[in-house]
């Protein structure tokens, strides 16, 4: 079978644009009809072996098992909480998935652990579209988020913020000296030692969101942080 890549790697494509023809496997955000692979979302094409996929540049959050998320407690039920994680489905956090008294809680007791409006760091333990996502807050580092600066970015940009094997986020943590918790649902929680460093981290995150689809971003972020540290104020990016 003839294999042909119709478009080159890392090119920006739109829904309905043909990506490849022949013995290719349609990966994420693509579909195949009559031997031709098309994009189904706006994003950057990539090839891995004979698999074609599109890394989206925009879109909402769709839960995936094992995703770390940051959600807001929306309601307290009999045996757990309903959490808004910015997905099309409400997430459930059962009381058994938190550290606390082993006995069944009374309604008032649950609010002592997490109250309505609290932010929680959690992890998705099950989700398959027919059932609402189930969360856990039992891992180390999970639980109520009590302090820090909060940012909301497009969930599609989270993979770029984290980088290949966490390269971007670990660079960012090191350079800004901040603790950064990233939820796959687009919520970022930043806490540092000084407002300046927090501003720096926030500026870097906004820059990553804006320029997620470009090359050499890690270097540019580092450059921006260096410049800001030298000048003592955070460089504000003009909006295009």
């Amino acid at each position: 079978m003839i294999l042909s890549e119709v478009v080159e790697k890392k090119r920006l494509v739109v829904p309905g644009e043909q990506l490849a023809e022949g013995d290719y496997l349609p990966g994420e955000n693509t579909y195949k009809i009559d031997g031709k692979v098309y994009a189904s979302r706006v994003g950057l094409v990539d090839f891995s072996g004979n698999r074609v996929y599109v890394v989206p540049v925009k879109g909402g959050y769709m839960p995936l098992v094992d995703d770390p998320v940051i959600g807001r407690i929306a309601d307290i039920g009999m045996s757990g909480w309903t959490v808004d994680i910015g997905a099309p489905y409400p997430a459930m956090l059962p009381s058994s998935e938190t550290f606390g008294p082993r006995q069944p809680f009374a309604r008032t007791d649950l609010s002592k652990v997490f109250d309505v409006g609290d932010l929680v760091l959690a992890r998705v333990i099950s989700f398959d579209r027919t059932r609402d996502p189930l969360l856990t807050a039992k891992d180390p580092g999970l639980g109520r988020a009590s302090s820090g600066r909060l940012m909301r970015i497009s969930p599609a940009k989270i993979p770029r913020l984290i980088g290949r094997k966490g390269s971007m986020i670990s660079m960012l943590k090191g350079e800004t000296n901040c603790q950064i918790a990233v939820g796959q649902n687009g919520i970022v929680l930043i806490s540092g030692h000084s407002p300046f460093e927090e501003n720096l981290a926030m500026a870097a995150v906004s820059m990553i969101e804006r320029e997620a689809h470009t090359h050499g971003l890690t270097d540019r972020i580092r450059e921006m942080i260096d410049k800001s540290r030298k000048s003592g104020n955070v460089e504000q990016k003009d909006q295009t």
């Binding site: 829904p15 706006v42 909402g60 099309p88």
Partner: protein, 256 residues
């Protein structure tokens, strides 16, 4: 009314030009912009001739009220609405019979392109607001809606495009303007999915002979293909501008 427009005697002059100076196969000037509304998940603004239309998409999101949720796919809802100031005479802002019909046909025109099976029990809400109407608002609305859907990151087979053709002074022409729509003999809006050549909307107002119908349909399809190119360009523009701006600064470095 004092400044009521007088009816033109002819809609096509001796040189074969139309009332606004276009050739029969010429589209009106079109401008599209994507991502114009911050609160919506996806949005687009489109100008086609004197049409000015905003399209907004929310979702996929939790279905409210609960009973509208479908167990196997997303429920797509659409609201087409003309602003009271969009026409020459004030239009009642209450949804009219026409608004409801157009909401339905626009929804049915874009639905086949959306992978709604990926989002069971959710809704995708589409809003179309006509700020200024100049004929062919349903076509321009569909074109704008598919941009807004793509901007929201909703998975789609292709962008849906729409364009109308019709008959004016006995001649088949493409992309009718308001006067041509009102005073002409026929109007034929067509929406299609370009990659598979599938037509998702055909309506006809007025009379066309079978030959004229064939001609009008093919002109509308040609118009759709031209508009589709502009849609692709409009969707990419925002990202390519940022990319060019930041990577240009980088280049001298890479050369070192």
């Amino acid at each position: 009314m004092l400044n009521k427009k007088t009816k033109p005697e002819r809609l096509i002059d001796d040189r074969g030009l139309r009332i606004d100076g276009r050739r029969p196969d010429e589209l009106r000037p079109i401008r599209m912009e994507v991502g114009v509304l911050d609160k919506a998940d996806g949005s687009a603004y489109i100008e086609q001739g004197k049409n000015k239309i905003l399209a907004a998409v929310y979702g996929p999101r939790e279905a409210h009220p609960r009973h509208v949720a479908l167990p196997d796919r997303a429920n797509i809802r659409c609201r087409y609405h003309m602003a009271p100031f969009s026409t020459e005479e004030r239009r009642s802002p209450a949804p009219s019979r026409r608004d409801m019909e157009l909401s339905k046909v626009i929804r049915e025109a874009v639905e086949p392109a959306i992978f709604s099976k990926y989002f069971p029990r959710t809704t995708i809400d589409i809003f179309i607001e006509i700020l200024q109407a100049d004929g062919g608002t349903r076509s321009a609305g569909i074109t704008g809606v598919s941009l807004a859907l793509a901007d929201a990151g909703v998975p789609m087979r292709d962008l849906v495009v729409a364009c109308a053709a019709g008959k004016v002074d006995g001649q088949v022409v493409v992309d009718l303007c308001d006067e041509e729509d009102k005073l002409g003999e026929a109007d034929l809006p067509v929406a299609m999915i370009p990659s598979s050549n599938a037509i998702t909307l055909v309506q006809m107002d007025g009379d066309l002979s079978p030959d004229e119908f064939e001609k009008a349909l093919s002109m509308a399809v040609d118009g759709c293909k031209k508009i589709h190119e502009m849609q692709n360009e409009a969707l990419k523009r925002k990202y390519l501008l940022i990319k060019e701006a930041v990577e240009e600064k980088m280049e001298p470095k890479e050369g070192e």
